[in-house]
Assembly symmetry: C2
């Protein structure tokens, strides 16, 4: 694409993104790409993992060229330093997802105690299934059952129980591998805390021992905090069902009140969505000249409301600033995670109000209206009502909505996929055995200005579906795919002949949207279910994962639990580990023996596709299936 603002290196593959970046530049506004450029050159010590600020004897650095110094003041060498830094990243990612899950459990408890107007048990069947899984008496009434389940889930965060309930969904062979390596996850918060302890100065100074615990922390996210977030969200807001919607900045409407829901939680966004259906508020909007109330999502809060309510998706991580630069937004409502602190400044350049709603997350320039289960319903209404009034303050001459939206189908929960297959995994397994579908790959993760926006996701995925590999996606990757049209039924035409036929037979696109980034648990649940159905361990399946444009500590954690589950995982951005040959080798090779999977790093998404295709075919071969 010929983009005048950066002719030699386009920032994005998307016209909406490029057009609004142009607008931002014309209006003299700074975006993430400007700040990324200003940070060049980035610190080489930090990039390699070779700087340490863990104690105030330091800061320390290790010379990557082997000159002095080769040890920190405490005596830590490059391997220890890199391992500790990576371990803390993984701990922070696990903490983030898990603390999000905690908010859902607290809300479930509040619902069960009838102190959370605005929330209800939306999926009683799922409540029943989870209650049974956690040993809650089946005969209890729904609210009593919800209460016992919430309390049982709170035990997963503690230290008395000693193992995580959801791990019992896995094949025995996988649990045995974890036991052998010492990474069966115990309490969720426990694992995070122990990791922080072990990375303190003078505690764990063995890179392998550190990273083994980091895997356990990651598993306490995948089979703990994140999975609780996903499952409880389904109870409270409904298990996703296939839903048609739209994507890109064209989902903003020039003639309507536009409210953006951004962050990662369904809690506030759902009550905003409820309030947006209030006829009084709609009438007031019309009184002020608006044709309607238009809610749109961004990032993973967007994925939550897209999956369950069909609310259209404005964009992913690198689009969050640009959404404001359209000038068409009355309110940006955020909860937490991946929310750029630059948003307040940008909102102030327009009539846009920027609202923070989590007590855990305040932002410069934001109006802070903290959520609680008790006040959420009122808060939703307050936010919509204020946005309606602010429509009158919009300056139409500053509005640019540069594109028309792309249609997409979302909402592929594990339950939906199983039901679509007739209640059994056999049709999918048979398609895999027959070679029509070669395998399945989770393409997930964030955006990162180090990668041309959405180029990594879409390039990789296009090649994989051409090779008859079914794609499961979440997070920012899901938005990239949707904008590229991969989530329309017509996208079956982009797939290889085998996958195309399966998609056409089932009436599904070749890329199935499974949700937000906590919903990567849907992918591992699906993979675990397939392994159980086939009677194999997860690492034997022709599956893989990729995060072509990751930026977040959460992504490091997700990738780690994927590998610990036996899923080969290809990263498109190099983690800060190259300063240690030992850590790098452990990640790229050393985990194969104990876990049956490794990480790979490949910045070129086309080459990443080749790695993954080869992996899928090799796994097919090992299972005795026809392989290319």
């Amino acid at each position: 694409m010929d983009h005048p603002a950066s002719p030699d290196k386009p920032l994005s593959i998307h016209p909406d993104t490029l057009a609004i970046v142009d607008k931002a530049r014309a209006e003299g506004l700074e975006t993430v790409w400007d700040r990324a450029a200003a940070q060049e050159p980035q610190c080489g010590f930090c990039e390699l993992g070779l700087s340490c600020r863990i104690c105030v004897m330091g800061p320390c650095r290790i010379d990557p060229f082997g000159d002095s110094p080769q040890r920190g003041i405490c005596g830590a060498d490059a391997h220890i330093m890199v391992a500790r830094n990576l371990a803390r990243m993984i701990a922070a990612g696990a903490a983030s997802h898990s603390d999000h899950g905690r908010d859902l459990v607290e809300t479930l408890l509040a619902v069960s105690e009838s102190r959370a107007p605005g929330y209800k048990i939306a999926d009683a069947a799922k409540l029943d299934r989870l209650a049974a899984e956690f040993g809650v008496a089946a005969e209890l009434a729904p609210l009593a059952k919800a209460k016992e389940l919430a309390l049982a889930m709170m035990e997963e965060y503690g230290i008395k129980k000693g193992y995580l309930t959801f791990t019992r969904r896995l094949p025995a062979a996988r649990l045995e591998k974890w036991r052998t390596l010492g990474i069966e996850p115990r309490g969720i918060d426990w694992e995070v805390t122990e990791m922080m302890h072990r990375t303190h100065m003078g505690v764990d100074n063995d890179p392998v021992n550190l990273l083994v615990q980091a895997l356990r922390v990651a598993l306490s996210d995948g089979w703990g905090g994140s999975m609780i977030a996903t499952e409880v969200s389904d109870i409270l807001f409904g298990t996703p069902q296939p839903v048609a919607s739209q994507v890109n900045l064209g989902v903003l409407k020039a003639d309507q009140v536009n409210i953006i829901l951004h962050g990662h939680s369904p809690l506030v966004s759902d009550t905003v969505a409820q309030a947006a259906q209030d006829p009084q508020l709609l009438a007031r909007a019309r009184e002020l000249g608006a044709a309607g109330l238009n809610l749109v999502g961004l990032c993973c809060t967007g994925n939550e409301v897209l999956m369950r309510r069909g609310i259209p998706m404005a964009g992913n991580h690198l689009v969050q600033e640009l959404a404001l630069v359209t000038g068409a937004v009355e309110a940006m409502v955020v909860d937490y995670q991946c929310i750029m602190p630059s948003l307040g400044d940008l909102a102030a350049c327009y009539h846009t109000k920027f609202y923070s709603t989590s007590p855990k997350a305040k932002f410069p320039g934001a109006t802070h209206l903290p959520f609680s289960p008790e006040n959420a319903q009122a808060l939703g209404r307050q936010l919509v009502a204020q946005a309606v009034e602010d429509f009158a303050r919009r300056r139409p001459e500053r509005v640019l909505i540069p594109v028309t939206p792309v249609s997409q189908i979302s909402g592929f929960s594990v339950e939906v996929i199983q039901t679509a297959l007739g209640g059994t995994w056999d049709p999918l397994l048979n398609a895999i055995k027959a070679g029509q579908v070669r395998g399945a790959v989770g393409v997930v993760g964030c955006n990162n200005p180090k990668v041309v926006h959405d180029y990594g996701h879409t390039t990789l995925t296009r090649k994989l579906i051409e090779a008859d590999i079914l794609i499961l996606d979440t997070g920012c990757a899901a938005v990239a795919h949707a904008k590229a049209g991969f989530k329309q039924l017509e996208a079956a035409a982009l797939a290889g002949p085998g996958l195309r036929a399966v998609c056409q037979a089932l009436g599904i696109p070749p890329v199935l949207h499974m949700g937000s980034c906590v919903d990567n648990t849907r992918i591992i649940n699906l993979v675990a279910a397939l392994a159980q159905a086939l009677g194999v361990d997860l690492d034997q399946l022709p599956v893989a994962a990729a995060a072509p444009e990751w930026y977040s500590e959460k992504a490091a954690t997700i990738a780690s639990y994927a590998v610990a589950c036996g899923i080969y995982t290809v990263l498109g951005v190099t983690p800060p580990v190259l300063g240690s040959s030992a850590v790098t080798d452990l990640l790229l090779n050393g985990l194969q023996g104990p876990l049956g999977a490794t990480f790979a790093v490949e910045p070129d998404p086309a080459k990443a596709a080749d790695l993954i295709i080869n992996h899928v075919e090799a796994k097919r071969r090992a299972l005795g299936l026809e392989a290319r």
Copy 2:
């Protein structure tokens, strides 16, 4: 002191330290001071808190001189960046202490289930008191009571309870301040995890909100994890009583098997101490030509066994390497925290065996013999037995024990102080009211090669006792004071006339050793008890805290809980916060209103003494007491 190796800047105030540094240099061995020199100049961005590695859009840096760039790629400014980095330090410190506490609770549970040979209920009266505090039925038999208490304490780590039991020891006024500020600590691991979440990219981007949570994390250490560590250690190993012992490298014996116990936990060190009393092992040592079995402590494991068993103390943080360079050590047994990973290399230069004993903490060059409650007794014996055999491998010509030890009195638990006062706080309060004792100050914390070894502690403390201020100490500071002779009864002569008279009347030194660094909880318990007795909040008392030579994240956490308790706290090493005027101002001034206390930073210990004396006198004045 004229020290030929560094004539213009002595490394330490102690002859033992300087002599062995000379030996290390003569033998071509690297020590912490060499590595510190090699790290010069340290990174200015990191020192100021202005570098961020929280996500892989970065690393980012902010220019402290106000030139570009002023924001990280996400948009975080200097204040956000500094606050996040500091918050993670405090979280790691809390995690460390609290995970140590967890090990004690797990062992208490194992004892209660009769699967921990080598451990017992050593202080049944303390068990009874704590059981009552945690609502455990008084009529239970000791082991059943221990079990219920252990399980109740495990709840303190979880999220179901929602508050920490030990906080109920505080005056209502203090708890009310915490509630108002939103920092009443909840679950221990919960607070750590929430802090890690809130410091993820795009979560909490308000420096005040971040640091408020950091204070809550710190309180979950002080009134949670650390206090559990202290109290359960007392149950299992006895509440400390006054005990005479010795200190400095002279406690190593040229004619005996020397075993050093280093780290922070009493768990393995106690079973080693038990084994060292085994007549068979002693006989074998004699057979090999040793006059005896000599256990000595280092750092806080040393404090644990000093307080309860009178085992002499070899030194503090900066002496850990030097202890090996004496050439007289058969075994260095470590658990975790503050253990330099350089020890393996140094041990290998001698006949010394270096043993790691915690599954959470491996080290290069160490023989790893992981502890469990079940194996600890056997492990203790194995360690002593091997050390005895290794005596035969010692090379006497490489041994240098440069000094004779200094005597000290240790073991001043809160219980001992109260008993010594006749069971009531009145005599101490009366002495304070009368002005004989002006106030009390905790001088605590680590060593740091940025400070002349032990100069900060001893200079500060000497001035404070001269000003009639009673000193309570723990950790590395306690070792510094003992080496300076402050813990002998004769040290009363160094005190001002009022304090001197009190010390002589009670038969105590002017500096009371209260334990290891988790035992800073003894100090806050004492301060809380005095406040309760006087009917005031803690910030009204003429008390303060100081960490003149701190280096560890744990010290940052301790200082934070001290301030949150209302205790003015003076740091001798600048934390990495100067990059943010907002954070710096909050720490130095902003907490005074909500908490009644602030941090101060003063590298010159003589000036720090003046700050503290002025503070103590001001608090006296505010209470209506005579003030200077």
